[in-house]
Amino acid sequence: MGKYNRDLSQNPCHMCMPMGGILALKGIEGAMPLLHGSQGCSTYMRRHIAEHFNEPVDVASSALNEKGTVYGGKTNLKKAMDNVRRVYQPKLIGILTTCLAETIGEDIRQISSEYQAETECECRIVTAATPGYGGTHTEGYWLTLRELLAQLTAPVSKHERINIIVPAALSPADLREIKQCLERFGAEYTLLPDISETMDRPYEDCYGKMAGGGTPLDEIAQMAGSFATLELGGPVDAKLSPGQLLQDSYGVPLYKLPIPIGLANSDQFIEALSAVLNKPVPAAIRRERGLLMDAMIDAHKHSFQVRPVLFGDPELVFALAGFCAENGMFPGVVATGGGSAGWRKAVVELLTDSMNPLDVIEETDMSIVRTRSEVNQVNLAVGPSVGRYLEEQADIPLVRIGFPIQDRLGAQRILSVGYQGTALLLDKMVNCLLERKHKTYRSDLFQAYYQEREVARHELSAS
């Protein structure tokens, strides 16, 4: 296992910072993202997100042109805020910068406070510096959440609501599962962000430009008074961690947990909840745990045949690696477009039992993922739709999970967290292999043994 990195990218495995910022803002009540930059950024990102969720995705842009680039984009940005307020009447505008705005040195915080003073607008404005060259979409996501907290919270009195902070890779179905789990515990909670309703909307008799749902702004303001934060980001860098900010600024204890995919990862979440809430694990959850163990036993001989390549967001891949290891599905490649040396070390520690050749690669691209997957003879891919090229070109079937999933329907309904979600994911992975097996085992065995026997007979008659 080592570095296969080049000083360029061939077929990216990740996206850029403002993308993550949009995903974070889409889970905030009444929030409208506004990209300060050229028009293309917002359009490309809207297209990507709309295809994943099959929902309308409106994102404004300050539509910087040459003039704005040379003389500054203040006028454009202010006009954009005017227009967004008129058409969308948002409760919050989240201004995200892009490569262009950062390179020309736009001071968005200054412009936004000027704007608020000039217009006395009732709408909140939050800003985040998310240049495309500054990091990956997951980093943009965490940073935007951190800015939301930094700009919307202040010391408040203590209360009984627990903070749950979730990563970008989870689906609306995953968030619904997490909420159900909290409700079974009888916990009061604030889920940040919450795309379970905003990015998965029912067909209604009346369409609203702003989706309902999302983390309420008044609850965000109260997050500073919580008795604990559970952050499901696995090994998130402390300087990007929103929970870290709540701990450092307001003393809210932070529990950093992996995404609850897998038995042990789900246990960590449930046990942490039980401990901080000081409540026993509800019977319904205990039963689901038992069902997952039963599913793991049912699957174990098949799962041992699975040699996956895991790729995508670092938090998701980390959780998947733990889940795969506990089922004997020892990966051949574990890769992320972002990550860090710390991430790699954490993943390697999970997989020390493996007898298979293994590459753990951070800051990589899909061409390297493909090459290493072929070298290490993986037989299943697990990750977002960029993996369709493994399927098409290297004949490695893909189980779709994470963001974005653009070539299949139902990304918003994919459930993979908790005991129940884990069992579903396990079935999906194992069945993918079984499907192949049933399709080919007759001809494989015929090829392997029948002709051999024919050959043997010929040799016999010849002698």
Binding site: D7, T43, P56, A63, E66, D205, K209
Partner: protein, 454 residues
């Protein structure tokens, strides 16, 4: 919903057929904060050049620009498939501070020996335009080192609209074209270049087969399934036909000016347009055998598809369509194509239509239809409902909005997987329209937004 209707600055970009005569405002910058559906200069350049199949496409910029455009078009290829890779110099913070030229040189030095492409395109992005990397110099040096064209594409996102990107792409294509080979006198050649087809779902292949059947050779397609060798020889054609005029009329103009190659605007969308196009090409070459074979092809193909088209038409008669697409050519063709299946277009708009294209649309639609330039979701929502549209034609971003409003939808975007050109495409189009308008799902989910009410 109590939300104000149309923003003041947008009103000049919206006209109604038959109401007070007002010229539509178009070909201007997007209004800030309006949630335009447009993309950027880079997008325009990338979509035009990307189908060049044997070229290496390297994006000089941060990762996002390459991420969002990796194999984004459903352009099919025969053989060469290097274009399906998205290469990026993946600029980081340090590169923005110290410049990205070294990184670009290193990338070219690694990629050219590895893939040995006959041609490299290097796309400029927003930051590159600002930090002042000398793209021309780096590309020129690499070109000399490896003896292949390494072409900078001036596509910094902010320097204009998507149309500016089309022009940047056309400029580069023109540079690749060499002066024509001398032709022997009395040789009858009927050889054309087909501009503005990106071979989505094999469309350029369908059209090429028609042209071959009537005795016309396709010299090169710009740019669907094209190769560097073919592009070099583009000046050896006797005619340019342009389909996607928005992206290609600039290149056709340059070829006419430099090499005297005449051009015809054409459309292979719909039965009438396809037939008229084949006839116009035949008339242009003025050869009895071509004219005869064109008529034979039209008769044969029409007879083959008409029963199916009529079957759908009977079910679709009287339905109303809304159209919001990228360019004017497609919009104009769609008005006619909807008529062929008994439908009227009540709302029509484009991201980058030109004045003369909007005039043409105005002359084709019925009284009361609304015409929009650079519309946004709020306007699309309002006019689909106000005009009582039963169906929207658009791209990925527009689809979920239509569905949420209970409006049927037809994909006319870059990544579709079925051809909509020619006779085969006309059948696919009618079938797709019926598959969405005639779906029993709409009955099952009744209680949604009622058409015609705002």
């Amino acid at each position: 919903m109590g939300v104000p209707s149309i923003l003041e600055n947008r009103q000049q970009s919206i006209v109604f057929k038959g109401r007070k005569k007002q010229e539509i405002r178009c070909e201007t910058d997007s209004e800030a904060g309006c949630v335009s559906q447009r993309a950027c200069v880079y997008c325009g350049a990338r979509v035009v050049l990307n189908p060049v199949a044997d070229a290496l496409h390297l994006v000089h910029g941060p990762i996002g620009c390459a991420s969002y455009t990796w194999d984004i078009r459903g352009s099919l290829n025969s053989g060469a498939d290097l274009y399906r890779n998205s290469f990026s110099t993946d600029l980081k913070e340090q590169d923005i501070i110290f410049g990205g030229e070294k990184k670009l040189t290193a990338a070219l030095d690694e990629l050219i020996p590895q893939f040995q492409p006959p041609l490299v395109f290097v796309y400029s992005t927003c930051v590159v335009g600002v930090i002042g990397d000398d793209l021309d110099a780096v590309c020129k040096a690499a070109s000399l080192r490896y003896g292949i064209p390494v072409k900078p594409v001036q596509s910094s996102g902010f320097i204009g609209s998507k149309s500016a990107g089309y022009r940047a792409a056309c400029d580069v294509l023109f540079q690749l074209i060499e002066p024509p080979q001398p032709v022997e006198k009395d040789t009858k050649r009927f050889r054309l270049n087909y501009l503005g087809d990106f071979n989505l779902a094999g469309e350029a292949w369908i059209i090429r087969s028609y042209l071959e059947r009537i005795g016309v050779t396709v010299n090169v397609v710009f740019t669907g399934d094209s190769r560097y060798e073919q592009i070099r020889g583009a000046a050896n054609a006797d005619l340019n036909i342009i389909q996607c005029a928005g992206s290609m009329h600039y290149l056709a103009g340059k070829l006419q000016e430099a090499y005297g190659i005449p051009c015809l605007s054409v459309s292979f969308l719909g039965l009438d347009d396809t037939a008229e196009t084949l006839r116009a090409i035949a008339r242009h070459f003025n050869d009895p055998s071509i004219i005869e074979q064109a008529e034979a092809l039209i008769a044969e193909e029409s007879a083959r598809v008409m029963p199916t088209i009529l079957k759908y038409k009977a079910r679709l008669q009287g339905k109303k369509a809304a159209v919001y697409v990228g360019g004017g050519f497609k919009a104009i063709s769609l008005i006619k194509q909807f008529r062929e299946i008994g439908m009227e277009v009540v709302m029509i708009g484009t991201q980058t239509g030109r004045k003369e294209e909007y005039e043409k649309m105005d002359s084709l639609v019925n009284e009361g239809a609304v015409i929009l330039d650079d519309a946004n979701p709020a306007e699309l929502e309002r006019f689909m409902l106000e005009q009582g549209a039963d169906l929207l034609v658009g791209g990925v971003k527009e689809r979920p909005l239509a569905y949420k409003l209970g409006v049927a939808f037809v994909d006319h975007n870059h990544d579709r997987k079925h051809p909509l050109s020619g006779y085969a495409g006309a059948v696919n189009f009618a079938a797709e329209v019926y598959s969405t308008l005639g779906s029993p799902v709409w009955q099952a989910v009744q209680g949604g937004v009622r058409h015609g009410q705002v």
